[in-house]
Symmetry: C2
Subunit: 554 residues, 2 copies
């Protein structure tokens, strides 16, 4: 067993030792919730039944039940609903967290030491994988070399992505496995770096050349996935996320989720959207799965892609990129194929979640939903994922057919400078337009897109109502008219997320009959200024009336 596995397992054993579900009273708390009417309500106690569902929300004056088997003194701490992340990648987050992180290294020597240590700690890993290096930060004045990696790991292939993901650093073993020699030509859109005065590859592969190495990196094993799922749960529960929509579940991912459910180590709730219609049919069969493991797992539907991202100019725009005349990006599906895939899934009552970033992509999916809604009536909850750049002329259509806008507030603060380059003023009006979309009647479901961004929901909440980044910039907020009031942002990270996943009535609100998913946090999230809110610490995370994370236990 690697140290990593041992550490993750030890942590899970600690969690498993949490009290089993019992008729429980969590009392003496400063509770904040969205009540049955969608309003913010303050309360002081939660009475949980022995199925882990909320029996009663208690106000200061309410009589406490005499018979609760188990009592928790909240010591006046703040309690809020468990956060629901409506768009992330569970397995991607876990696998990425298990690789070596070099982003904090300040020199090549420090990086080499860290790589050597990681290799020693993980003798069973056939490849050493990592990310985050930056030769500029190291003051190296050049790329590092394969020889500098060989000096610390020569028994196994090593492959480390640069901080921006646009280059990779391989050792000689990795290049051997990929059959890279002096004769190997750089592929279109990429470059194999060479040693000075030679054809010999230096170990650095830029852009499309990365795929030459990537192609021989082994797929994660089932055990890798099991460990990654434990790791992802540890991260997410520690940040206060009790439920997450997994965008792009493969059959291998699903089997890992089921293994965790079967052996009792699935603590958080995962709502799956299959990676395409084939995975959907293989996972769900003739329709969405039932809710499994006390509402901890369900296959709801399918994730489809209509375009790429703004940063790489893969987003599909109606007009040229402002900083790249002649380029509008591209749709990843033809109109016919998109509708065929949506039809196939809808016919069997799978929910549809379509990635659309550019204004052309958003216009196209809005149009397609309009057309399909004629055939596929009823409560479909069509989801548009990201809805990042929408032509202001199209925004009103979000209010039709019960469309859900699944958006990630942190993308706005991370991407705004890049977006200002890619788009002109007129199009920026429809970018990250949370409030305009909300006002059409569309329901907002917020998420993080982790591991692309941090999964921390308090970063998302702060961005949502302030439109400012961690540095407080820009002063007053970027296009502040699109901000979402604090209580609406909280709903978008909880009750709306449940609704977007057909889970209302099961979890997402602190109301009687729903699962008792809640957090004990160290501050009043309704009053903390944005900078403070970002630093919110989760002290305990409860899922279904059971303690699933406690920062005191670490």
């Amino acid at each position: 067993m690697t140290r990593l596995l041992a550490a993750v397992t030890a942590s899970v054993i600690a969690l498993a030792a949490a009290p089993a579900v019992a008729d429980t009273l969590v009392d003496n708390i400063e509770g904040i919730r969205i009540d049955e009417d969608g309003k913010i309500d303050r309360f002081t106690g939660i009475w949980i039944d022995d199925d882990g569902r909320i029996r009663q929300i208690l106000d200061r004056g309410d009589k406490r039940p005499a018979g609760a088997e188990y009592r928790v003194d909240g010591k006046g701490q703040f309690v809020i609903p468990g956060m629901i992340d409506s768009h992330l990648h569970v397995m991607g987050l876990g696998l990425s967290a298990l690789t070596l992180d070099l982003s904090e290294t300040a020199s090549l020597e420090e990086a080499q030491a860290k790589i050597a240590q990681y290799a020693a700690d993980n003798p069973g890993r056939p490849w050493i994988l990592g990310r985050g290096w930056n030769q500029e930060k190291w003051g190296l004045g050049r790329f590092p070399t394969a020889a500098e990696l060989d000096a610390v790991v020569s028994d196994r292939p090593v492959w480390l992505e640069r901080v921006d993901g646009h280059a990779g650093w391989a050792n000689s073993r990795a290049m051997q496995q990929a059959k890279i020699t002096a004769e190997t030509l750089s592929p279109a859109g990429g470059r194999i770096e060479r040693l000075a005065g030679s054809r010999q590859p230096s170990g650095i592969f830029v852009d499309a050349a990365s795929s030459l190495i990537q192609a021989v990196v082994p797929e994660p094993t089932p055990t890798d996935r099991d460990i990654a799922l434990l790791k992802a749960q540890q991260i997410l529960l520690g940040m206060g996320i009790t439920a997450a929509a997994d965008m792009g579940t493969t059959i291998e991912d699903w089997q890992a989720y089921r293994r965790a459910g079967d052996n009792g180590s699935l603590q958080m709730r995962i709502i799956s959207y299959a990676a395409g219609t084939e995975a959907m049919e293989l996972i769900g069969g003739p329709g969405p799965s039932p809710w499994l493991y006390d509402d901890r797992l369900r296959l709801n539907g399918v994730k489809l892609y209509l375009d790429g991202a703004l940063g790489s100019r893969g987003a599909w725009l109606k007009r040229d990129y402002a900083d790249d005349p002649g380029n509008t990006g591209l749709p990843l599906q033809t109109a016919t194929r998109l509708r065929n895939l949506m039809s196939r899934a809808s016919l069997d009552n799978f929910q549809i979640a379509v990635h659309a970033i550019g204004d052309a992509a958003n216009a196209e999916i809005l149009q397609a939903v309009g057309e399909l809604s004629e055939s596929y009536t009823g409560d479909r909850r069509w989801r548009i994922e990201h809805a990042q750049v929408v032509d202001p002329a199209d925004i009103a259509k979000f209010g039709e057919h019960g469309i859900i806008a699944s958006m990630q507030p942190v993308h706005q603060t991370s991407d705004r400078l890049m977006a200002e380059q890619r788009l002109d003023e007129a199009r920026l009006k429809g970018a990250y337009a949370w409030q305009s979309i909300r006002q059409t009647g569309s329901r907002l479901a917020f998420g993080s897109d982790a591991p692309v961004e941090s999964a921390n929901p308090f970063h998302g909440l702060a961005a949502a109502f302030s439109r400012t980044g961690p540095d407080g910039q820009p002063f007053g907020g970027w296009r502040p008219e699109e901000h979402v009031p604090r209580e609406e942002a909280l709903a978008a990270f909880s009750a709306n997320g449940a609704y977007a996943a057909f889970a209302e009535g099961r979890f997402g609100r602190l109301v009687p009959g729903e699962r008792a998913d809640f957090l004990i946090v160290d501050r009043d999230i309704m009053l903390a200024p944005p900078g403070d809110l970002r630093d919110t610490q989760v002290r305990q995370t409860w899922v279904g009336g059971q303690l699933a994370f406690s920062n005191e236990s670490r």
Copy 2:
């Protein structure tokens, strides 16, 4: 909904209406069981706890519990353990049972009428599939034609296998979909029949030519599999089989089993052996699955193939076939690959079940088990599936390393005339050598290989102790020294099947603590002569203390 689906569903609803598990006393029965010491024991009552496990086996004089919630009067009927079939194909059985069976038709006209009726009953089926026709039996003096099929079904493709599986009959739609024209050439090893005096395909495809049509027959949908599983359960529970080893589970099969488990319609127990190591890893991940759904489903390991069958001379023999000089059959795996696959599975503690029919195949797997046992110690329960023809010099090796001989008694009675042609006297000594193998200390686990043979375990029991077929031939039994006494045959169809599946202590015996899986049958199976035993009728089948089948309810 097709009538077929409606019929199957109605039957399942009827079963679901059976009483839920309660503390139950089944009394006034003539019970027959294998007791804790492996001896036949007679008893008169079963007391079942509310988990569906046996609390007590009661003899005539024993005091009856006063508090049982639910009492069943057995009215003096015979009760025996639920039968365990250690080798069959659950999904193959169900899918095959859902196709059109023409084996009872006596004329082309009768077959046409039956085909038309089936098409009308199944408007939603995109293809009409069937089997069992025989133009000789019809007195037709020629093959039937596509036109004769078109006359009854022209809106959809039709594809019907001949009774021997060596030819298929297609209608014009099926040929169109397969792009068969007058120009299509017959493939090697096959023949496209042509209309007299023409190149026009007649609709009959012989041997390898069948694959031209087979290639365009659609894969079963998830709904097809769900219906097939219900159908297979109906058949098996109706025959008294309460648990079965599924030999060659695909991920699609597994997902159907899980769907049934999740929605409560998995009534019988299925022990899965994955169709190869890739399916094994996808289904089980890092190791065998846990026992799921109250011991109703588990992935135990992997099914591997080492050779083919005797009938088609695919079985791998040490010397030439007696009726085909120069041909020894072929191994389907090299020695190295076999050991690699076995190693890969054993490393992760999956159980190995290897198909071996010919004496060379059996020698090879016995040798491989011997080698692997040095590395993979502990309780492995290596399974050899079929073990049909074993060199008498090799039989002793079955007693080593805890090898389990998973054999199908009915193959002996069905195949004996064919075996006598394929093999010479010396080799026949080691054919279907149940008793010789048992005497080495190897445990016998009996099954049917359904749908290749009928799953009826009473046919298997009768064959096992009589070595005679349904016609009572040959008088005195074929090589009767290899017969298995009745009580040992019963154990091979129950307790040994559980042991072969690592399920002892869970089910397989009527002893306290095990699941209450038992049958009410219409005769004393320990006394009935072979012909009578074959006709045993199952009146009720109970699985885990719940009534899962009753022939009175139909």
